[in-house]
């Protein structure tokens, strides 16, 4: 069954006439995802890869009431407006590719979305349910070589590592149910814990792999969810960022969220939380298949 992206997924692309928007629209179509419409204010009436473009979401929904997922690929200064429009139109799943959105705008979008719609991102590489469909640029033009259908859910802060981890699994004969790039920003619409709750309900998913990084509390929250019994399937986690901890605190590199002040969000704190929750820790990404073995059907 997979999560988020299913046979019923019908996609709207916000910013479809832009470079990223049009490229990803084509990729999604090529992978068999139904892309019903696009939106770019002022460009209504055009077509992009055979997909009709509208000026507003309201117009798009009028013509394509089946839309249930929006993919947002607009520049950062326009992102809040675009996400707000999608939230107000009650599109249940909004995947935000846009990077460098001001944190204040992300906080507002998350507050607006609360309990009504799900945001995945910002800075999300996308979501793929192998063999079913994808939203976003995950897997690029040809996800088939890297992703394979199976029983392991993957949640990753890093887009590149979402693919790398999936490829390592595929190479070892372990397929994926759904792979989600949640983005590496400080504030994200969907956290590890949010998505683990979805994976818990999904019969196709037998185990979950988490790719975490230093900074923030999302890994610790995932550990809490497991400890409280909210997630009962096996979990393997990898945490990156030891290198960053050798630099002066506050140094910016990698993802915006990978920044620590004091002890909060440190590598040690995350490893400890996961170990206490019984999560297996991979020291390199290549240890992940070994740690999953015998726990999932191949």
């Amino acid at each position: 069954m997979a999560i988020l992206i299913t046979q019923q997924t019908k996609v709207l692309v916000q910013g479809i006439t832009g470079k990223e928007g049009s490229k990803v629209a084509l990729q999604m179509k090529n992978y068999g995802t139904r892309v019903l419409a696009g939106v770019t204010p002022g460009k209504g009436g055009q077509e992009v890869h055979g997909v009709p473009v509208y000026n507003t979401i309201a117009e798009a929904l009028e013509n394509h009431p089946g839309i249930n997922t929006s993919f947002v690929a607009v520049p950062n200064f326009a992102a809040f407006g675009a996400i707000e429009e999608a939230i107000k139109a009650k599109i249940p799943l909004i995947n935000v590719l846009t990077e460098h959105i001001p944190i204040q705008d992300t906080a507002k979008a998350i507050a607006l979305a609360k309990q009504t719609v799900r945001i995945v991102g910002p800075s999300s590489i996308g979501i793929i349910s192998p063999g079913i469909g994808k939203v976003g640029s995950i897997g690029g033009d040809d996800p088939r070589g890297v992703f394979s259908k199976g029983s392991v859910g993957v949640i990753s802060k890093s887009g590149g590592m979402a693919s790398e981890v999936s490829w390592i699994l595929t190479k070892n004969g372990i397929g994926q149910s759904t792979v989600v790039g949640i983005g590496g920003d400080i504030l994200v619409g969907s956290t590890f814990a949010d998505l683990m709750e979805e994976f818990e309900k999904d019969p196709q998913t037998e185990a979950v792999v988490l790719f975490g990084e230093i900074g923030g509390t999302y890994e610790e929250e995932a550990a809490e969810l497991i400890k409280s019994g909210g997630f009962t399937k096996p979990v393997v986690a990898f945490i990156s960022g030891l290198f960053a901890e050798t630099l002066p605190q506050g140094t910016k590199l990698g993802h915006a969220g990978a920044i620590i002040y004091g002890e909060k969000g440190s590598y040690k704190s995350k490893i400890k939380a996961f170990e206490e929750a019984g999560v297996k820790i991979a020291k390199t990404p290549d240890e992940i298949p070994g740690l999953l073995n015998n726990q999932v059907s191949k």
Partner: protein, 404 residues
């Protein structure tokens, strides 16, 4: 971007928060008796000289000196300008009047990953605030800040103004520590601070300011501050050059994040997540990185060429590691072609081992090209594709570079 105290206080003043009367002095200025260069801060209760550095531990490092005479000001200024605090040379000093107070508080606004929104943190102030009692209150960003019920009345106004600083200037952190209520004798009634300063809370002062700006909101912030380097040293030439690569060209990123480090293995890493994973591995195997840099989002060939030239022009390199995971959409042929074009321009020609590990669109074509270039032009390439674990090439790099 982390601001200096004096910069943070400019934002505070803009929103009507009281700060002590002050004078800003840079290292090349000298105080004397002529009106333009004289000390203008009143000496009634003495003044405090505060080194303007980005490190938070100024007081413990002797960066804050209290003096009570004009002469002592000059001597102490000289002392401060000769100092290095946590690796950062003191080049600016803020001279401030001393404000007498009875109690100090901590007040800040920041973003919290557990509430996924802003929080206000309030408690006892002073140094070592982490160990003291402080409590956090979530703020509804859609409604704006509302003071919690048990919040001290005399601080409501300053809290509202700090919230204004936090939102108006797109901060990640706006912190006052200590925030004090001054004794009556130090009221500033006879001195005007700034036009916008409100008199209603004239007794409440922000004695220090720590502000971190959200770089992603630079495009809409009215106030601009000069670039700085968080390592507490001025940026190196390579860092300045690397950051220029992305200027005015939004096709992917290369060089926007670039730090010179002390080691001897040049690193060109891909992806904000994968780059850190690989740096972790390099350190774990005993590698000494000469730099940190990342590129992502399918940057064009020219960007990689420029970045490669910067990374490899360091003297004393023992190896070069071009590393990345299995890319989603970055054109591997283009990026590696850019790498080769940059490599060809390095003088003297690099003879050290070059380890390449990459996967993604057009990787097979890229590897064919590399094999050919390596053979014809005599580069010591060691090429690995997606079937070789990314982090295992860290060990290969270390062994080759250090002749193990």
């Amino acid at each position: 971007m982390l601001l200096y105290e004096f910069e943070g206080k400019i934002l505070f003043k803009n929103c009507g928060i009281n700060v002590p009367e002050s004078q800003f002095i840079t290292a090349h200025e000298e105080l004397d008796s002529s009106p333009s260069t004289a000390l203008r801060v009143r000496m009634t209760d003495g003044v405090v000289l505060k080194a303007q550095t980005l490190s938070g531990k100024r007081a413990q490092s002797g960066g804050i000196i209290k003096v009570d005479s004009q002469q002592a000001v000059s001597t102490s200024l000289k002392e401060l300008f000769g100092k290095t605090i946590n690796g950062e040379k003191v080049e600016k000093v803020l001279v401030e009047e001393i404000v007498e107070y009875e109690k100090e508080y901590y007040l800040s606004f920041s973003y919290d990953t557990s509430t996924r929104g802003p929080i206000m943190t309030f408690g006892e102030g002073g140094t070592g605030v982490e160990e003291k009692r402080a409590q956090s209150y979530p703020v509804d960003i859609l409604k704006g800040f509302e003071t919690p019920q048990d919040f001290p009345k005399e601080l409501v106004d300053v809290a509202n103004k700090l919230w204004q600083v936090f939102t108006k200037y797109d901060c990640e952190l706006a912190e006052i520590n200590p925030l004090v209520i001054g004794k009556a004798s130090t009221s500033l009634s006879q001195y005007s601070l700034s036009e916008s300063s409100s008199r209603s809370d004239a007794k409440v002062y922000a004695l220090d300011a720590k502000v971190i700006l959200d770089d992603d909101a630079d495009f809409r912030r009215e106030v601009k501050f000069p670039e700085r380097n968080l390592f507490g040293r001025p940026p190196t030439e390579a860092e300045i050059e690397a950051r220029k690569i992305d200027e005015g060209d939004h096709r992917g990123t290369a060089g926007s994040v670039y730090w010179d480090l002390d080691g001897d293995i040049a690193v060109i890493a891909a992806g904000g997540g994968g780059s850190i994973v690989n740096m972790d591995a390099l350190l774990a195997y005993g590698g000494r990185p000469a730099n940190y840099t990342e590129h992502s989002g399918n940057p064009p060939r020219e960007k990689l060429k420029k970045l490669t030239k910067i990374v490899l022009s360091k003297p004393g390199l023992k190896g070069c590691w071009f590393v990345g995971g299995t890319a989603n959409f970055t054109d591997i042929y283009e990026t590696l072609m850019g790498f080769v074009e940059g490599l060809r321009e390095i003088k003297p020609k690099p003879i050290y081992p070059i380890v390449i590990r990459r996967g993604g669109p057009r990787d097979k074509e890229a590897f064919e090209m590399l094999k050919e270039v390596g053979k014809k032009e005599g580069f010591d390439f060691h090429i690995y594709g997606r079937e070789t674990p990314m982090t295992s090439t860290a060990k290969i790099m270390v062994d080759l570079a250090y002749g193990k």
